[in-house]
């Protein structure tokens, strides 16, 4: 875990309101594991005050750290305006990443929107030709696979408005062959909006397929110190809440209380 001032090497618009940023952060990049995240301080002023959490979307050999982000509010708007040479304070890598897949061909990656960020890092690191299902609201939000270094993977796309790929949700792709995860997959990795994760959790729990999800939560410290990022633990756990920054952001589906999870990060 490191805190360092990192220079933006590039910051390219890769889809509607979506940017891929390269940060020169060799020390964080060297330690990064797929599923881990960083906290970025978006400016030197006291407003916006808190750091913003972002999954690590990949690392480059030259020490580059990749962040894929969508502009949703003030912090990400400031980030989108940052040209090469701008500096940001970056804290990471934080949290626990994904457990890697055991057998080639057995992992299925399910990404809703920006959920592709940690999953593409995972896909790269496995080195395997994994199957990735991605979902977007519409075609112009789709991130070109080349940007993400996913050319070695099989990627299927769904859009909610049908402008590209399957017309519907990414979870439809899962359920195509009847309402279950297609045969042969022993491990699902998912990241995306809570309603999507709920659907995935439901399927995998029912079928008894191992599944790890990466969650979001508002955060202050990112270090397990403030107890701010609580998510409800499954009934019967030894604790009432887990902390996304420390116990996650990657969780086994069975450890969470899906009924109590807030569907909406304001």
């Amino acid at each position: 875990m490191i805190e360092q001032h990192a220079e933006v090497t590039f910051n390219d618009r890769v889809a509607a309101d979506t940017y891929l940023m390269g940060l020169k952060s060799p020390d964080i990049a060297a330690r990064a594991h797929p599923g881990q995240f960083v906290m970025i301080r978006v400016g030197a002023q006291a407003d916006p005050l808190l750091r913003r959490p972002f999954s690590i979307c990949g690392v480059r050999k030259d020490g580059g750290l990749l962040i894929l982000y969508r502009v949703v509010g003030r912090g990400t708007r400031i980030m989108a305006g940052a040209g090469p040479g701008t500096g940001f304070d970056v804290l990471g890598p934080l949290g626990n990443g994904f457990d890697f897949p055991a057998q080639p061909g057995e992992s299925l990656l399910v990404a809703g929107g920006m959920g592709i960020a940690p999953l593409s890092f995972l896909a790269q690191r496995t080195g395997q030709e994994v199957q990735i299902l991605t979902g977007y609201a519409c075609a112009d939000q789709q991130i070109p696979f080349e940007c993400l270094g996913l050319s070695h993977c099989a990627v299927l796309v769904a859009t909610e408005d049908g402008t590209i790929g399957h017309h519907g949700r990414v979870t439809d792709l899962l359920q195509e062959s009847g309402n279950h995860i297609p045969h042969g997959y022993a491990q699902v990795y998912a990241c995306g909006p809570i309603p999507m994760l709920m659907a995935v959790a439901d399927l995998t729990l029912r079928q008894g397929i191992a599944c790890q999800v990466s969650l979001e939560s508002t955060m202050a410290c990112g270090l397990g110190a403030c107890q701010g990022c609580a998510v409800p633990a499954a009934p019967g756990s030894d604790r009432r809440y887990y902390h996304v920054c420390q116990d996650g952001p990657v969780f086994e589906v069975g450890t969470l209380d899906w009924e109590q999870l807030q569907p909406h990060v304001p």
Binding site: M1, I2, E3, R41, A46, D47, P48, L49, L50, R51, D89, L91, S217, T218, M219, A220, C221, L223, G224, A225, C226, Q227, G228, C229, A230, V231, P232, R239, R240, Y241, Q260, Q262, H264, V265, P266
Partner: protein
């Protein structure tokens, strides 16, 4: 020669006046990979209650202009786990370890204090009187001078350590509470705790926080905290520790000049884990630039009668 940052807060001896505020630095260890806690004047740990508490339903945090609201709900591991799991690491530190404690009844406060008795490496207790008082319908102990004094007495009876009472700003006249707590025997005061606030999500039309309301902290509240510190310093003889929105060395200097003998940094730890160290370095730099041999010289210099 390096300026002398040592400071005495009542019976408490600190190597410099910069402490971490309770609830924002966990049990200390969470930050240890990022900065050396031994450089701090002291570490104040998360508020400890008799029993472990899971805290409030999420969301627990929301950003506000130059600040944040938190409704952690005093989540903590509880006295026993604190002693067995957290304390051993804290005991290896070479700086003052201060334990923030709270209860929902007078007895609970006293029991937590009793449970920490005799642990030599605990330098002091800080009493959080700002938590809701079940017996009085949610209004906090800290808004009532009488109850504040009784909590103070109850803790003093059960401890061998200096007792700092941490005051709530959500009162008409904080001096009244300060004086009551002083009369009850407190060794020092720290202020301020958070101001109560709310944010509403206009999409869901519900308060953002699971608990509806939360405590406002961060630079937004700094002028209020500084005013209250300035006021309380004039009203009591016991030392005062300043808390609220301190991020830069200049912020800390304002509180010291207002008469605080030390400061606590809370939300600043989230903005940058090295905030406290930057402040310590900045205090040294300021003293050196001004040719001040010891930080003690600037304390209270902005008080009228100084």
């Amino acid at each position: 020669m390096s300026p002398d940052l040592h400071i005495q807060v009542g019976p408490l001896h600190l190597k410099n006046p910069v402490l971490t505020a309770s609830g924002t630095f966990g049990y200390g260890r969470e930050f240890a990979q990022l900065m050396d806690p031994n450089r701090l004047g002291g570490v104040i740990v998360k508020g400890i209650s008799l029993k472990p508490r899971p805290g409030n339903p999420p969301p627990r945090i929301v950003e506000t202009p130059c600040g944040m609201l938190n409704a952690i709900g005093l989540a903590n591991v509880g006295l026993d786990a604190f002693v067995s799991e957290k304390l051993p690491w804290l005991q290896t530190l070479h700086t003052a370890v201060i334990v923030n404690i709270y209860g929902h009844t007078l007895e609970e406060y006293a029991q937590v204090a009793a449970g920490l008795k005799g642990v030599q490496e605990i330098a002091a207790l800080e009493i959080n009187v700002s938590c809701p008082n079940v017996a009085r319908g949610g209004m906090s102990f800290g808004t009532d001078p009488n109850l504040s004094a009784r909590v103070t007495e109850a803790v003093l009876k059960q401890t061998d350590k200096p007792v700092i009472v941490k005051l709530s700003p959500n009162v008409t006249d904080i001096r009244v509470i300060a004086k009551a707590v002083e009369a009850a025997g407190a060794h020092a005061l720290s202020l301020i705790n958070t101001l109560t606030g709310m944010v509403i999500d206009i999409e869901t039309r519900r308060p953002v926080l699971g608990n509806e309301t939360g405590g406002l902290s961060g630079p937004a509240i700094r002028p209020v905290a500084l005013y209250m510190v300035h006021q309380v310093v004039q009203s009591v003889r016991i030392p005062v520790i300043g808390v609220g929105g301190i991020i830069t060395p200049e912020d800390a200097l304002q509180f010291l000049m207002a008469g605080a003998r030390a400061v606590e940094v809370g939300t600043g730890n989230f903005v940058d884990p090295r905030t406290t160290l930057n402040i310590i370095n900045g205090l040294t730099r300021f003293c050196r630039q001004k040719g001040i041999p010891t930080i003690r010289e600037i304390i209270g210099t902005a008080q009228q009668n100084w």
